[in-house]
């Protein structure tokens, strides 16, 4: 049995009924990173969707800016146990980006500058559930938080909301991403506490 340290609470408030199981409220916005922060300028930025038959669809930053954007207010849940309520974003819905894409794929592998990847079912990117976000709290998204643009899929644990997003590969078979191939859950629903494989 672990020794309890009296008076030790850690950097968090007590669990909250509004939150998924095992989560705590964070007041700040913790920065998590598995490597050096990629510095991608918008003139070099490009977003690519590729399909299972190798068809590619590209957007430059300019083209992304010309697409209709939405304002999103949402709760986010990180698998390292912090949650943040009512975060405010602006971005382009994946429904818009994938509108003209022809595919029979069921899965998506999201790719980032810096080499990060994460997988999820394609249907979780559709129907107003996912965005390519480029503004946070009325400011441009900083590199620390994934700028110039990150994926935002707030109904899944936040590691699915890939920072520095640069594309989505559509696949017929599910292919595990960076954390999913090292023990984390392929789907990652915070309300069912799907943290690790087998949860």
């Amino acid at each position: 049995m672990a020794i309890v340290s009296p008076g030790f609470t850690g950097r968090r408030r007590s669990p909250d009924a509004q939150l998924p199981p095992g989560q705590y409220l964070a007041e700040d916005f913790p920065v998590l990173t598995a490597g050096p922060t990629p510095r991608v300028t918008t003139d070099r930025w490009e977003f690519t969707v590729s399909t299972e038959v190798g068809q590619r669809y590209n957007w430059s930053w300019q083209q992304l800016m010309e697409l209709p954007a939405e304002k999103i207010t949402t709760d986010i849940h990180c698998v390292t146990k912090w949650s943040k309520l009512g975060t405010r974003w602006k971005g382009v819905s994946l429904d818009v980006l994938l509108e003209d894409v022809e595919t029979a794929a069921d899965y998506a592998l999201v790719q980032s500058y810096g080499g990060y990847t994460t997988n999820l079912p394609l249907e979780d990117l559709l129907d107003g559930q996912a965005w390519v976000a480029y503004r946070y709290d009325d400011d441009d998204l900083t590199p620390e938080h994934g700028g110039p643009a990150r994926l935002l899929v707030p109904h899944l644990y936040f590691w699915k909301s890939a920072k520095w997003v640069r594309g989505i590969q559509l696949l017929l078979e599910d292919e595990p991403g960076f954390w999913e191939s090292a023990g984390y859950h392929d789907y990652g629903d915070p309300w069912r506490e799907q943290r690790y494989q087998g949860d």
Partner: protein, 88 residues
């Protein structure tokens, strides 16, 4: 702090929970660029859902360690091999 990595030395405790010998003194070879060096010289990023160790030469991921409640996952696909000193 976000970019603040530490040295491979910091992996020692978590690896010794799994292995009977100290793996940070082992010599590893990076699958990306062939860099050869002690595991202790890797760059370790800890502010993440797991520990991510990168090659100091090419920055590719060489080792990942995730600790679940009753399991650990060790991914070594970025490492060609480890040479582990043992007491003779």
């Amino acid at each position: 702090m976000s970019d603040d990595h530490v040295d491979g030395n910091a992996l020692a405790g978590d690896l010794r929970e799994i292995f009977a010998v100290d793996l940070t003194a082992a010599t590893g070879r990076c699958a990306g660029c062939g860099y050869q060096g002690s595991v202790a010289t890797l760059r370790v990023y800890r502010n993440a859902p797991g520990l991510v160790a990168r090659c100091p030469h090419c920055e590719e991921v060489v080792l990942r360690l995730v600790r679940g409640r009753d399991r650990a996952w060790l991914d070594l696909r970025g490492t060609v091999s480890l040479e582990i000193p043992l007491p003779s």
